[in-house]
């Protein structure tokens, strides 16, 4: 009999004393969490088949069936279950392979508070997506497609006799999917970094040439967007829009003197705001193609049509994946609510505010449809934050920025 209101977590570790320790220290969560502990991967698979779980937390190195095998099984048989690694393993080789299988990786010794926080953040995400089948699809996403020319470029550079780490960083930072993936990896607890990295160039530097090479060439963390198959989707436009919004978001964040941590995350929030579209394009080809055409013809808002069709939009989908990959909450919030900021729970000017404005402004600029003007802006939301009077100023800076760029 499972309590529907409780989140269910399965812990797997071949060392019984680790399980005992977790059990004791997490006992205070027993009001909210239902926790099951097992020291065998095989048993874990059996348990998953008979009872539903929200999250599995697994060790990597285990006898008989190791964590990587277990998580691969979970991914294919129970994709809706969020997969987390908690391992004392430090060998990079095995660690990298696990990146493809786990949403997040924590390394032993891991403070129980951090584990609790990570799990709570994931549970908070779960409510973003109501539809279980979409949740499943998003949970199974390992890589995001990259622009073919960027993909070729990064592979070429890495395979060259003397790859320049700086150049690799530049190439990666120009691509949405690559940036997201590299940040997931660099911020995983395995690398033992204390602070969160939000700059892909810095991430590439930190990982180093050899690691990046291994990740890209052998583990294949990047994939190429199939332009023939998805000829109906203007991939390049999405990228350009994302980069513009990214810049606008950063500039506005600075202008508004947001907290330094938020300013650091601004580029990513802008960059990833439409990332959910990539998942929709590649997973729901036909329906999405129709919606896009309809939006173009009728001028209806795309996310409205998405909501009608899927019961959710690219915003929540993108936010959910980035949440699974462990990006920080302000980024997730900005992605999730960039079309309807008022739905968000935070009531302060933040990344969401900046992304919301940046997105509207850039689409206005692109559509050359001055008629609508900034009508898509949620003026009520901005007024509530007390920044309605800032709109003109933001417009000016963004305009300046665009002109400077041109």
């Amino acid at each position: 009999m499972t309590d529907q209101t409780k989140k269910r977590i399965l812990f797997v570790d071949d060392e019984p004393m680790v399980l005992k320790g977790l059990q004791r220290t997490l006992r205070k969560m027993r009001g909210e969490w239902e926790m099951v502990f097992t020291d065998s991967s095989k048993q874990a698979l059996g348990i998953l088949t008979s009872e539903p779980f929200d999250v599995i937390v697994s060790d990597l190195r285990m006898p008989e069936m190791d964590g990587a095998q277990l998580l691969a099984e979970v991914k294919s048989k129970h994709p809706q279950v969020v997969r987390i690694i908690l391992s004392g393993q430090v060998e990079q080789e095995t660690t990298f392979k696990s990146f493809q299988l786990a949403h997040q990786s924590l390394s032993k010794p891991c403070d129980a508070d951090i584990l609790r926080q990570t799990l709570n953040q994931l549970f908070a995400l779960r409510s973003l997506l109501a539809d279980e089948s979409i949740k499943r699809i998003v949970s199974q996403t390992e890589t995001l497609p990259s622009l073919p020319k960027v993909y070729t470029e990064v592979i070429g550079e890495l395979q060259s006799a003397d790859p320049s780490i700086k150049k690799v960083g530049e190439i990666i930072s120009s691509d949405l999917g690559m940036t997201a993936k590299i940040l997931q990896i660099v911020n995983s607890a395995f690398l033992g970094l204390v602070r969160k990295i939000s700059n892909p160039k810095e991430a590439v530097m930190l990982l180093g040439t050899e690691t990046i090479k291994a990740l890209v060439l052998s583990v294949k963390i990047f994939s190429e967007f199939n332009q023939k198959k998805y000829a109906w989707f203007d991939f390049e436009h999405l990228f350009n829009h994302s980069l513009s919004v990214s810049m606008f978001t950063q500039t506005i964040s600075k202008e508004e003197h947001l907290d330094q941590n938020l300013v650091n995350n601004a580029l990513m929030a802008g960059m990833f705001h439409d990332l959910g579209k990539l998942i929709l394009v590649t997973n729901f080809q036909e329906p999405y193609r129709k919606i896009l055409a309809e939006a173009r013809e009728t001028g209806q808002d795309l996310w409205d049509l998405e909501n009608e069709m899927f019961g959710t939009s690219h915003a929540e989908i993108g936010a959910y994946l980035m949440g699974l990959w462990g990006l920080e909450y302000p980024i997730i919030e900005a992605i999730a609510f960039h079309h309807c900021p008022a739905k968000s729970l935070s009531h302060a000017t933040g990344l969401l505010t900046a992304v919301h404005f940046g997105d509207v402004y850039d689409r206005l600029k692109n559509s050359c449809n001055a008629e609508n003007g900034l009508s898509r802006l949620d003026r009520g939301y901005l007024a509530n934050l007390g920044v309605a009077d800032r709109i003109n100023g933001w417009q000016m800076i963004c305009k300046e920025l665009t002109e400077r760029k041109v």
Binding site: K20, L22, R27, Q69
Partner: protein, 583 residues
């Protein structure tokens, strides 16, 4: 140009030929005109020339009739006596190249028997090779007796003078060769790239070569004649003295390594010395020679090489060790955090009791208060804590123990090693290495130990010894993994035995792995030979094991292997009997 040279040469040849003809003409004139019969044979006994005195007075024939024929074929013409002398003495003469003088009676052409003195000697070709025998005869019958005496005397004198000359020459040659040998030896000694010290039976320094001068910065002149123990060098004299007496006792070379010394700059350095006794007649020992070198650089290099291999081993094990530490750290941390919370709850529980006591002191306790305290008590989860706290403490201590063990065992890496042997408890050392390698084998194998607790301490280089055991355990785990696969549910077995076998300590490390294929068995101890993929081994492990066990410990390393069934490495280390008895 070439043409000209050729002409020049031709000119020379013509000239030489002319000279040759001239001298030949003179020679035959001389031979033909002397009154003494003379004849010349080649080495085959064929007559190649003779003079008229010989043909006419002795034989009564012409040279034409005999030249070109062997004297032994000319039985009718050459007198028997003459042929006999030749037959008997030619061989000896040709070999020894002396002068032979005979007196013999020969019947001459006129039918008269006459006494002749026959003097024979060899002649040589221009290249020094003996070409034949010249015989000259003197008619004694016609001459006076004095002439014969004189002749005899001369021949005798000549003989003895010849002998004397030969003796002198021999002496000269001998002296020369002794001188040369001396010079050569001195040259050799001074040019030897090693230290060479010669000692008399009383340890008096007889030799002190240039390298010794250089290494110790003391000249031979300062030392020759003084004894080695009083030469003023700061070194491990006892070790050298032991070596000398050992070599004299056994009558053979003794190698002593890593002899500590301090050079005049105060630098600590090491010598490797070989002490060899040299025997006089009847095996009496005359003294010893000490050959050696300053091996400080080698010692340092070897230490470095071992250190680098050790670093490599640490690198390979680091991930495993980290895993072994991270796991207990995780539950120690979790338990401690739990205990922190538990302590808070227990303090609150105590608070409830205090409340109860306070209430009880001021009169009967109300049912309501009891109920409320009970409820709060349950909320504090005290029953659970009562059960779990002792376990949490116990497991925390276990975790700390596990970490301590690993960290203790890791000290085998902290030891620089390489310099001095020390008595070690082999079983204990192996136990440490097992701890440190646990993560390498625990997923693929059970590890069984069967230690001989009576094994005495063995004198070893501790770090090197552990390194060997480490290599062999890791190899065993790899061999099992190769047979069963990485995540096989089947586990192999690694067995480590120790036992004493006479004056040997035997360590046997066996596995149930793939075994070593016949084709590579002879190469497994080669440096850098490996069948492992990169990252799993560099082919240094067994080479180092061999060098450590065989060269550094005078032990042996053997293996038994069967493909598909497993391998056993058997190490044998000599037990120092004195050490073992003191033990």
């Amino acid at each position: 140009m070439q043409q000209f040279q050729l002409e020049n040469k031709m000119d020379e040849a013509v000239k030489t030929e002319a000279m040759l003809a001239e001298s030949q003409r003179i020679l035959s004139e001389v031979i033909n005109t002397i009154p003494n019969p003379a004849f010349i044979k080649n080495t085959d006994g064929v007559l190649v020339g003779c003079n008229p005195a010989f043909t006419e007075t002795i034989l009564g024939t012409t040279s034409k009739a005999i030249v070109g024929r062997s004297i032994h074929d000319l039985t009718e013409i050459i007198p028997q006596a003459l042929r006999d002398i030749c037959a008997k003495n030619d061989e000896n003469l040709l070999k020894n190249r002396a002068i032979q003088v005979f007196e013999t009676s020969i019947k001459c052409a006129d039918g008269v028997e006459r006494n002749f003195l026959l003097s024979r000697s060899t002649f040589t070709r221009c290249d020094g090779v003996v070409a034949g025998i010249i015989s000259v005869m003197l008619d004694l019958t016609n001459g006076n007796h004095a002439e014969k005496l004189l002749h005899d005397r001369t021949a005798e004198l000549m003989k003895s003078s010849e002998e004397l000359k030969r003796q002198i020459k021999k002496r000269k040659i001998a002296k020369q060769s002794i001188k040369e040998a001396h010079r050569e030896i001195n040259h050799l000694i001074s040019s030897l790239p090693t230290i060479l010290i010669g000692l008399s039976r009383e340890n008096e320094i007889m030799h002190w070569n240039a390298v010794a001068e250089k290494v110790f910065k003391i000249t031979a002149a300062e030392l020759i004649g003084s004894t080695l123990d009083q030469c003023g060098i700061q070194w491990d004299w006892q070790k050298i003295a032991d070596g000398i007496s050992q070599s004299q006792g056994k009558g053979c070379s003794v190698r002593i390594d890593n002899v500590n010394f301090r050079n005049p700059e105060g630098e600590e350095r090491y010598l490797g010395l070989t002490i060899t006794p040299f025997n006089g007649e009847k095996n009496s020992i005359l003294g010893v020679t000490i050959i050696g070198a300053d091996i400080t650089d080698r010692v340092k290099f070897e230490a470095k090489l071992h250190q680098s291999h050790k670093m490599e081993a640490i690198g390979q094990l680091a991930a495993g060790i980290a895993h072994e530490i991270n796991t207990p750290t995780q539950f120690v941390g979790d338990n401690t955090r739990f205990l922190q919370d538990a302590f808070g709850a227990l303090i609150q529980g105590c608070g409830l009791y205090k409340e109860l006591i306070k209430a009880a002191k001021s009169g009967p306790v109300s049912e309501k208060l009891i109920e409320s305290l009970k409820k709060r008590f349950v909320e504090l989860d005290i029953d659970y804590l009562e059960e779990e706290v002792p376990l949490a403490i116990q497991q925390t201590l276990k975790g700390v123990d596990r970490i301590t063990n690993i960290v203790q065992a890791m000290k085998i890496f902290a030891h620089p090693g390489g310099i001095a042997k020390e008595p070690i408890d082999i079983n204990k050392e192996i136990e440490k290495t097992i701890t440190i390698t646990r993560n390498e084998w625990k997923y693929v194998a059970r590890l069984i130990t069967d230690f001989d607790s009576t094994l005495p301490a063995v004198s070893c280089y501790r770090a090197e010894f552990n390194q060997v055991i480490l290599n062999l355990i890791v190899n065993a785990a790899h061999a099992i993994e190769d047979l069963n696969g990485r995540n096989s549910p089947e586990k192999g077995t690694i067995t480590i035995n120790t036992r004493r076998d006479g004056n040997w300590a035997e360590i046997r490390i066996s596995d149930t792995g793939v075994g070593i294929p016949e084709a590579v068995r002879h190469r497994i101890f080669d440096l850098f030979f490996t069948t492992k993929e990169p990252g799993r081994g560099t082919g240094q492990g067994l080479a180092i094991a061999h060098s450590v066990i065989v060269e550094k410990h005078n032990g042996t390393i053997n293996l038994e292997t069967k493909e598909g069934q497993g391998t056993a490495f058997i190490l044998r280390l000599p037990i120092d009997v004195d050490l073992a008895e003191n033990d």
